[in-house]
């Protein structure tokens, strides 16, 4: 089972790579559509700005390749910006996104006493049924750093919730796609467990 990590110039790829290496995963990094389409699983990481990221995906043809990969039923994991890019659109620079999961990435409102970006460790609540949360108790802490959050149109696609000013959706799932707002690659043992679940169960 070979995992492709999509390289679209969106920040900290290396931390995802080192975590996968640590877990003994069979993976490669690719920025070409034919490269990622050859894989069995796809990880779509990213720190960065939505418009810039979509620009790279559109010009390289990776947008269609990710869509094709998803439509083929193979497992896809989105991380951070990856959980915005899979939605219909983002409020960040009013960006049209891939549209795999209906919904919008919204900016946190300005609320006194709450800083933006939401940066640090926060609890992720889930109902324990999703395969990627196997062995991870609901309420475990994960590392977040973001100013926008996913808001799926259908509540059934939200598989995890986190509280910061509001309760937002910190994990999405639609069929063979899962995407998380937090960084499993920076979330210590719980994060590594989630990545291990993806490697073994998809």
């Amino acid at each position: 089972m070979r995992i492709a990590v999509v390289d679209y110039n969106a920040g900290n790829l290396r931390s995802v790579e080192t975590a996968l290496k640590h877990l003994g995963a069979d993976f490669f990094v690719s920025n070409r559509p034919e490269g990622i389409l050859a894989a069995d699983k796809l990880i779509f990481p990213g720190v960065g700005e939505a418009k810039a990221a979509m620009g790279v995906l559109n010009t390289s043809g990776l947008d269609r390749a990710i869509d094709d990969f998803y439509q083929s039923g193979r497992p896809v994991l989105g991380i951070c910006l990856g959980s915005h890019i899979v939605l219909s659109d983002s409020e960040e620079s009013n960006t049209q996104c891939l549209g795999l999961v209906p919904g919008t990435a919204r900016r946190f409102p300005q609320v006194r006493g709450f800083k933006v970006p939401h940066m640090g460790w926060n609890q992720v609540m889930h109902d324990g049924t999703h395969r990627l949360f196997k062995g991870i108790p609901s309420g475990s802490s994960f590392y977040f750093v973001h100013s926008y959050y996913p808001e799926p149109r259908e509540s059934g696609t939200c598989i995890a919730r986190t509280g910061y000013m509001i309760e937002f959706c910190s994990g999405l799932c639609l069929e063979n796609l899962a995407a998380f707002q937090f960084h499993p690659e920076k979330s210590g043992a719980c994060g590594l467990k989630l990545l291990e679940n993806f490697i073994h169960e998809g």
């Binding site: 931390s15 640590h22 460790w121 475990s140 979330s187």
Partner: protein, 256 residues
Amino acid sequence: MLEKRIIVCLDVRDGRTTKGIKFKENIDVGDPVRMASFYYSQGVDELVFYDITASSEKRSIMIDVVAAVAEQIFIPFSVGGGIGSVSEMRRVLLAGAEKVSVNSQAVRNPAIIEEGASLFGRQCIVLGMDALKDPSFPSHYRVVIDGGRTPTDLDALEWARRAERLGAGEIVLNSIDADGTQNGYELTVTGLISRSVGIPVVASGGAGTMRHILDVFTKANADAALIASMVHFGTYTLPQIKAYLHENNIPVRMDY
């Protein structure tokens, strides 16, 4: 609920940690990679490495340290000390650091904050700031640079606000008055700045007891607390500090 972070700071010179550290465990206390792994296993939330290497030709050693640390710990860490250009920022980030911290260099050339934020995202850019009490300044605190040796004309609060506007994603606020005393954080300046900016503020300088950490969270609104000697010298352990804060109703990460 967002948890308060406990950040351990390691000073590194020529690739070796500098503080004389007393551990009961059998570890090479001069090896920053081993130290980082140890604190990671103890549940630290984040690490900061300050490169205090004097000569610029030895700087590349730090890049090797960063790369080796990134392979062993899976939590965020930042690197500061002597970073003066976006190409140096890029090297550190590509080696696996989550954030880079700029201090004196940002005072001399504030544009580096803006350039770094636009290239790498503001969450990567940390402003390190040394504040010294000085009633002649509007906020009563003045910015000093070069490790506290060189005073500037900058007011601490104004500089913090300006750095936020330029694109800093976080401020590590070190009190020169408190630094090294182990008498507690400087609560006044920490509270003042933390309540005046919209980005996280990490309190630094002066931590000697667990109570000091509790105070900086409850009385000065800090988002994170930087500690060094109190764990390096083995006076306290991270699990002990976390348990104490937890008992005192501070939200901290307990599942590590």
